[in-house]
Structures are given as structure tokens and as C-alpha cells.
């Protein structure tokens, strides 16, 4: 199996990432469209009625919530807009990372792994991961505050908490180290290319 060049794993991944990137862009537009609809639609229609279902993912734990009776939502618009805003920013980060990966794999497809451009893009991914980790914490806290203020479920108390995950920061740091390795590799490659 070939990993670099045309008709290789890199080539397949580049096409795959192109599709993912297009889907991400579509998702971002859909979220913006959704936000526009939410601001225009009547508040009462946004509140979850009896039988409403929600899926919630918490670090690998998937919860499927089904409302037996109508939940009391003080400001449904704020809740939905908060959720959409959170989704927009996080998908924005994913889109940016996928864009950088797409460009890197295009270079790998062209048979150029060690070039300064790849090092720069890997560094950008590392910084994006760290930034996304920080933004996620603050936006998550903001969203939690919106939910706590507006959502009332019988017997459940919602308390927002500012939580800085170390895992995202460590992954970002590891990617930054990898970017430095690539930068060094690009410098060696340049030396090799200019050795006659």
C-alpha cells in the first residue's frame, strides 16, 4: 500500500477530507439558517412538549432524554440560540482543522511531506486545538448558564461549571511538537534538495 503520491492513502484521505470540509461548511450554513429561523419563529413553538426527545453526548456517554411531560423553558429562543451558537463555534474549529488537514494531504499527495507549508499548517492545527479547548470551556460555561436560567426540569438542578480540560491542551501541545519536527524535516529536505 502506498502512503504518499497519487493513488495512495494520502490521495484517498484528501478526497475524504474534501467531502468532510464541504459537509462542515454546509453544517455552518445550516446552523446560521437555523438561528435565523429561530429568531423569526414564535417562542411558544420552540418549547419542548411532552414526548420531545433529545440526545446528549458527554465525553463518550450518550444520553437519550425523553420528556414525559412538557419541560418548563423560560426563554426557549435563548436556549436554542445558545445551543446553535455553541455548535457553530465548535463546528467552526473543526472546519478550520479539516481545511488545514485537507491542504496537508494535498501536499502529501503531491509527494511533498517535508515542506515549510506543512509545518506551518500542523502548527496552526495545534494552536487551533488549544484555542478550541479554551473556547469550549468558556462557551460551555456560557451555555450552561443559559440552560440553568431558562430550563426547569422537575427534580433536576442545573449548575454550570467552568471546566478546563487538560486533554485538549496536551493534544494541542503534542501537535505543536510534531509541527516543530516537520519544520526541522523541511529544513533538512531543503538542504538535501540544494545539495548537488
Amino acid at each position: 500500500m502506498r502512503y504518499l503520491g497519487k493513488s495512495s492513502a494520502s490521495s484517498f484521505l484528501e478526497v475524504f477530507l474534501k467531502v468532510v470540509w464541504a459537509l462542515c461548511l454546509f453544517g455552518l450554513v445550516a446552523i446560521l439558517g437555523g438561528a435565523l429561523v429561530v429568531t423569526l419563529v414564535d417562542q411558544a413553538r420552540l418549547a419542548p412538549g411532552p414526548g420531545s426527545r433529545f440526545s446528549l453526548d458527554l465525553y463518550g456517554i450518550s444520553l437519550h432524554l425523553e420528556f414525559a411531560k412538557a419541560a418548563v423553558v423560560r426563554d426557549p429562543r435563548a436556549v436554542v440560540l445558545g445551543l446553535l451558537g455553541f455548535a457553530f463555534f465548535m463546528l467552526g474549529f473543526v472546519t478550520a482543522v479539516v481545511y488545514q488537514l485537507r491542504k496537508i494531504f494535498a501536499n502529501l499527495k503531491a509527494g511533498q511531506p517535508f515542506i515549510p507549508e506543512n509545518a506551518r499548517r500542523i502548527r496552526a492545527i495545534g494552536l487551533l486545538v488549544i484555542l478550541a479547548c479554551l473556547v469550549q470551556s468558556f462557551l460551555g460555561f456560557g451555555l450552561g448558564t443559559i440552560l440553568a436560567k431558562n430550563l426547569a426540569i422537575e427534580g433536576v438542578t442545573i449548575r454550570p461549571q467552568l471546566n478546563f480540560g487538560l486533554d485538549g491542551f496536551l493534544i494541542g501541545l503534542a501537535i505543536l511538537v510534531l509541527a516543530e519536527v516537520f519544520r526541522y524535516g523541511a529544513a533538512l529536505q531543503e538542504d538535501r534538495d540544494l545539495t548537488v
Partner: protein
Amino acid sequence: MAIKVNLDRVMFERKVTLTELAEKVGLTLANLSILKSNKARAIRFSTLDGLCRHLHCQPGDLLEYVPDEGDGETASAGSSAEHGKQQ
């Protein structure tokens, strides 16, 4: 770069074209152009050997030390290199 490659001068004196020399030495035209235009960062002994063999010259005929302007230390080193070349 303080090291100057005088390949074009030697080639002119020997009346050899870049294509002919590349073929004889076994280098690509692109690599020889890099060397001729002083863009090379390093030169292999095997390349130098091939060039000297086919151009009937010494490495010193191909390479020259030209001190950078305003660099006193390298200038003095340059003059000693020049002296060595004359010898």
C-alpha cells in the same frame, strides 16, 4: 554565501555546454543549474570529482572564497584563502 562557484567561467573556457556537462557528469540539468547559479547549499565530493574530471580542472578553479562586505574577520580569512589559491 561567501563561496562562489565559477562553473560558468570554467565551462566557457572549456567550451562545454550545460547539457553536455550534465550528461557527462551524470547530474540532472536542474541540479547543475542550481550549482551554476550559486544557489547550491552543498556539493558532494562525487560531484566535484566528476566536474574536475570532465572539465580537466582543480576544485580551486571551480570554487572561490569571496568575503562578505563589512565582515572584517571573514575578509582576513578570505585574503588567506586567496593567498592559498595563488600558491
